[in-house]
Symmetry: C2
Amino acid sequence: MGESPHWLMERNRIRNAVIIGAGNVATHLVNALSHTIKIKQIYSRDIKHAMFAAKGIVNCTAINNLDKIDPTADIYIISVKDDAISNIVETACRRCPDKLWVHTSGSIPISVFDGYANRYGVLYPLQTFSRDVYVNISEVPFFIEGNDLNTEQEISTFAKLLSPLIYIADSDCRRRIHAAAVFACNLTNHLWSISNDILTEGGLSFDILAPLLQATLTKAINVSPYNAQTGPARRGDIGTMQKHLQILNHENQEIYKMLSKSIMTKYDIPLNDEQNKL
Amino acid sequence: MGESPHWLMERNRIRNAVIIGAGNVATHLVNALSHTIKIKQIYSRDIKHAMFAAKGIVNCTAINNLDKIDPTADIYIISVKDDAISNIVETACRRCPDKLWVHTSGSIPISVFDGYANRYGVLYPLQTFSRDVYVNISEVPFFIEGNDLNTEQEISTFAKLLSPLIYIADSDCRRRIHAAAVFACNLTNHLWSISNDILTEGGLSFDILAPLLQATLTKAINVSPYNAQTGPARRGDIGTMQKHLQILNHENQEIYKMLSKSIMTKYDIPLNDEQNKL
């Protein structure tokens, strides 16, 4: 009988987990993990939420008291709102500071664990999760960080249970990714919301834009947003821009003007006196 | 022998076309139409472009002189850059002012034809076309307008050769749709471009955002952008917003602040003194 092969040892290192949190990210992680490791406990302040997340997971206990956390798990995953992480760390980590602790936030630094645990890090999935929308976790990129190389390796091995798209990213890098995601998704969604309002005022439905939106996204990904840019600002077509401004309210005019000028600057389209009137 | 059924008369009304323009929209229309009607001619100022667009279309002639336009076609489709439409109309329509003339622009009013033709209108496809990207025309919404009810009906019947998604839209309505599309696609693409820049500065690729972008778009279409909004501004999470501002250049800071404040206004998230510092 020889030793277990290396890949098997790595795969088997983490056999069970405690999940702290029962929101969208936690629930999707539980569902993805429950096929490969044992989920011992799910914690939520509201026991009903914990019970809902634990439903159908074999031998998984719902708890709403951090003092009841089982200290014998291999990994503890804190997946709660950003501003609750610090309190959870202070209360929960002391139960078993030598176990592996991670949080799943894009914007909370790894240092939140300093002084409370000895092996810790971050496991940040770059995806938006909604309760009722299926997400194929194996297509989600995870950005990980550990407080030392060994821990980082452990988190990496664990993360590969979820997805092959694992990237090492320190807290600064994660902040950059998060800021980029805010531009690409949150602020973008707000422009869609404005677009929806403009259409609704004219008795039209946002649905008419769906094929165009999909084509625009596909093109941006395929040829890069820089090369995909089209529209009146890209052409320096001041006449069309002025016609659009006429039907916008003041707030949306300001947004239209600021972004159009930013496009013209990016593509070195000269702003003459007339264009400065925008 | 009875009369032809109504649907057959309607389907057969337009049997052939002349296409004025050989750009992306024109080329996609030619490819979609060439299976159902005869394309007699394709015009471009540059004969090579006309020949390229006419390649593979049976008995289709490439021309680069508006005086050579065949006056016996059933429909004339002007699909050129917005600022070239007016000149084309002035020169070309007099060859056969009683034939059906349409342009395909979202932002040029129908009145561009006033005094130059007697049956005219607009056939505006709400989609972005690139030369090498296949578009399923039958999924593209078309917004049409005619100078009288009969003409509008003719254009509608013709448009149904291309897509079942045919909407009547006057020039004001089309301007509204176009403005909405600029917000939803052009300005949005610019935010993706900024996002790309932020990632590139950190040695990261825009590709890591692809799954998140797709999920964000799908969610916005499924539940409406208003209901899909997430992110630090939506939560009023001033701490995270300030962290993001630290890594942005001045121009992108201004965009981030303006859009974040607009989100907070939309969702009635109070701006306290600290938040006004954004």
